[in-house]
Amino acid sequence: MAEARYLYCIAGGQEGLTLGNIGIEGNNVYSIAYKDLFAIVHNCPAEPYKSEDKEKVKLWLATHAHVVDTVWESFGTVLPLGFDTIIKGEEGISPDQSMKLWLMNDYDNLKRKLAKLDGKAEFGVQILWDPKIISENLVEMNPEIKKLGEEIKSKSKGLAYMYKQKLENLLKKELEKEAENNFNNFYAQIKACVEEIKVEKTKKSEENKQMLINLSCLLIKGTSRILGEELEKINNIKGFSVRFTGPWPPYSFV
């Protein structure tokens, strides 16, 4: 029995819409309106979609994204919601009414946000580096470390081991300083080309690469060229690589 509404996103406009059975688990996706806002939903039981099966969950996430994308393409502006946002019916109120009440209670906020995100898109920027290459550079550039490296060659086994530890510790400290400098510089560089910027957690990457910075950027649609050029410059620096993704609906800026 459909006691709740699964919420994909909010959009603005006068006409309602039906998207057909493109929803999660093949559900029919349609709109529920309040004034000039509407919620894109499908009918669902009043509990979140959970599963141990990773493939299933991946499919659900992809379906969710697809519905939001479809609405985004048709309407240009949406407030996307995360996976598993479900509005339940309350005592004596139908789920449709609950949905309208939800829209009503947050109306001003939602309208404001829609206006703010109008015509904008989200882009993901991740900058990675190869610690080995950067370390080699640091050794070259840093006289203290370079000297230590030379000294080690002439020491006996045990002493060499101890001095090697010392070198690695020094190198680690320098690497951390480099990372911080680069983070601050890149952040400033990128911030200058975007409307809004959010710092996300860095993720573990492939074996020989480390993620330095993970950003969500909000840009006016069609203005990503300048950002692209800046990122190209960074990508061309030895030892650095950039992942530039988007445009997405502005999930991170709702």
Binding site: S156, K157, G158, L159, A160, Y161, M162, Q165, K166, N169
Partner: protein, 107 residues
């Protein structure tokens, strides 16, 4: 944290855990050794002996890992521990996260 246990991977898992802990202790010893060295409280002969002992320990651990085939296992224990520590630190720096999680769990 769900753990799948059967006889084979129990031995494997326990060994992986033990070696991960030995490595962590070795790192702590290394730290102390470095402090003594920087502090100038060691003679050259003492540093030589210490260095050799630590080096031998390194080699021994590597050999055990190779022989027993637990190199990956040890790495994943240490990665797991790293992320638990990261998580706790993150919440200390950012107490809002504790609160949010507690709320989600209905506490």
């Amino acid at each position: 944290m769900p753990i799948n246990i059967d006889e084979d991977n129990l031995k494997h898992g326990v060994l992986g855990l033990v070696i991960a802990l030995v490595e962590i202790i070795k790192d702590a010893i290394n730290l102390q050794a470095m402090k003594r060295m920087e502090g100038g409280s060691l003679s050259e002969a003492e540093m030589e002996r210490l260095g050799e002992a630590l080096m031998d320990l390194d080699i021994a651990i590597d050999e055990i890992k190779k022989e027993q085939g637990v190199t990956e296992s040890v790495k994943s224990v240490r990665d797991g521990l790293d992320s638990i520590v990261d998580d706790v630190l993150d919440k200390m720096i950012n107490p809002d996260r504790w609160r949010k999680e507690a709320e989600e769990k209905g506490l």
